[in-house]
Amino acid sequence: MIDTQALRTAAWPTEPATTLAITPATVELDAVVKVYGTHRALDGISLALEPGEFVALLGPSGCGKTTALRALAGLEAVDGGSIRIDAEDVAGLPTNKRDIGMVFQAYSLFPHMTVLENVEFGLRMRRVAAAERRVRAHEALDLVGLGDRGERFAHQLSGGQQQRVALARALVTRPRVLLLDEPLSALDAKVRVQLREQIRRIQTELGITTLFVTHDQEEALAVADRVAVMREGRIEQIGTPEELYVTPATPFVADFVGLSNRVPGVLKAGTITAAGATFELLGDPQPDGPVLAYVRPEDVVLDTSPRGKGLAATVVASSFLGSLRRTTVRLEGDLLLSVQHDVSLQPAPGDGVRVGFRGNPVSAISAP
């Protein structure tokens, strides 16, 4: 352990000086446990990142996603399991020897240093010569589009700009892994979308292995190669955004990722009968009986023609969302359904309509 540590420390100054070339690493969390008192913040989570992969840890607040990220960074001691970067166990390695780059939620720029000094800080810690430091810092700032703000102080920048500086500061040392701890959550909606695209573009360009923590499912689906959905210290499902959305492994995932209608029905031998339609059950087999099926709004079909097919329903509300329209209808028995449909249909509250289902497989929980 100590040998590799010494080697790495010694190796830093001799790395090539001209580009931000990064050697992407693998990251493995294996049955990691973290306990606070009686609360198991991490209840044996396992997660493997391929070199250059962008993985999002997604979950509601308090699910342990930030703890997992901080354990990987060495900012939290863990109580069990192992963490490996490039197949090397980093248990005994303090944060400053792990060769990682991290972007925090907010306010992480050193307030008494200029932007340039902030970006140079990691290089200074690695005893990179002043001239080279300057070149690399400018390069990193150019990468995030702030090449002209080097002399500013953090308080003279907008929130989005501060986070871009933090990103440049994290990348300039060419770390093996980039850790992003809800870097967008303190920003305005519009800046958030711009910056997440910029982060993804830079990540792809550099090919750096990245772990991104967020509670915003839209954000996770938009940028990550794979998303790990966490709940109460455990990973519920890991998969590509499409997998999570189309084939959620658990009702929690179905509920947390995207929108779902909960339709009461009956499960028998892997087939659900609900609202006059049949659906195949997703995920693990479940005992027969009454269930709530999770049906996506886009899997519901709206028919406004006078003699349409399907179940009779009354329009409650309808909202225009740009490229699509989402309408809430009430079925017999007071069941409310959210339907996503083309903007060419413009139902008004009170209209009588008919709804049907596309019949895609759904996940379900047994009804209380």
Binding site: V78, G80, G92
Partner: protein
């Protein structure tokens, strides 16, 4: 099973418990010595080397009421002054702060500057100019001791201002006022039923710190020849050091309790805010 893989993560911020206890322990002991000495002194039986409760019991003995009369009078003066000064804070400072906060946001810096000035102008300097002012005050209000509260109101400005402002900063005053007024409340209702309940913490803290500062005030009373707790203490210390020691301890304890209450009010507020 539950092996600890890495030691406690120390990033350079908080001290270790050992360091903390060591520093706080040493400072606490050194700081306790003078106060404990004062306590020990209050039990001394003259120069005999023995100890007695006589000084403590004697102070509250009705038979001694006569020699201590001026002393108790001075204590009464101090409490009267504290009350009037709190009144000045509530009637002059508080409404002005509210008015400035709501209607003259541009004057906030000016008000803050004015309220901080008494730190720059020491009481010993102020008293030089107060002497002629008070020769007029006496003609208007008479020479009663309570008039000293006018000067004390100035002394407590920085403390009272800070206490109230801290509370004002944490409450969306302008929004509350607009909400109340849009619901049809008149200004008196807004102030009494919306603003003051939300500012209770700050106003209470300001009142308590004002009482503590006034009870501890010596400079102005001494040089304007008025009697209050502190001048009486100094005077009696030359004749009866034990009584001076006891009263010093009691008033320190009283101020400590007052400020402890401010602390509890403050931290209770912080909890509900977070």
């Amino acid at each position: 099973m539950n092996r600890r893989l890495t030691g406690p993560v120390r990033l350079g911020l908080a001290p270790s418990p050992v360091t903390r206890v060591a520093i706080l322990g040493v400072v606490a002991i050194v700081f306790a010595i003078p106060l404990l000495s004062l306590l020990e002194f209050s039990f001394r039986d003259g120069l005999s080397g023995g100890y007695t409760l006589a000084h403590w019991t004697g102070l509250f003995d009705p038979e001694n009421a006569r020699p201590y009369r001026t002393l108790f009078q001075s204590i009464g003066n101090s409490f009267l002054l504290a009350g009037v000064t709190v009144g000045i804070v509530l009637v002059v400072l508080l409404p002005t702060m509210l008015l400035v906060h709501i209607s003259f946001p541009r004057l906030r810096r000016v008000l803050e500057f004015i309220c901080i000035i008494p730190i720059t102008v020491p009481a010993i300097v102020l008293v030089v100019g107060l002497a002629p002012v008070y020769s007029i005050v006496v003609q208007v209000f008479g020479g009663s001791v309570w008039t000293l509260a006018f000067a004390y109101g100035i002394l407590v400005l920085p403390y009272a201002y800070r206490a109230i402002q801290a509370n004002l900063d944490g409450v969306p005053v302008v929004t509350l006022v607009e909400a109340a007024r849009s619901l049809g409340a008149g200004w008196p209702t807004v102030v009494a039923r919306v603003l003051l309940p939300n500012l209770r913490r700050g106003v209470l803290a300001a009142a308590f710190i004002t009482i503590a500062v006034v009870l501890g005030e010596f400079t102005i009373a001494s040089l304007l020849n008025r009697r209050n707790l502190q001048t009486a203490l100094l005077q009696i210390s030359t004749s009866d050091g034990y009584v001076a020691a006891i009263l010093a301890l009691l008033s320190l304890a009283f101020a400590f309790v007052l400020l402890l209450i401010i602390g509890r009010i403050g931290s209770a507020g912080n909890r509900s805010n977070s």
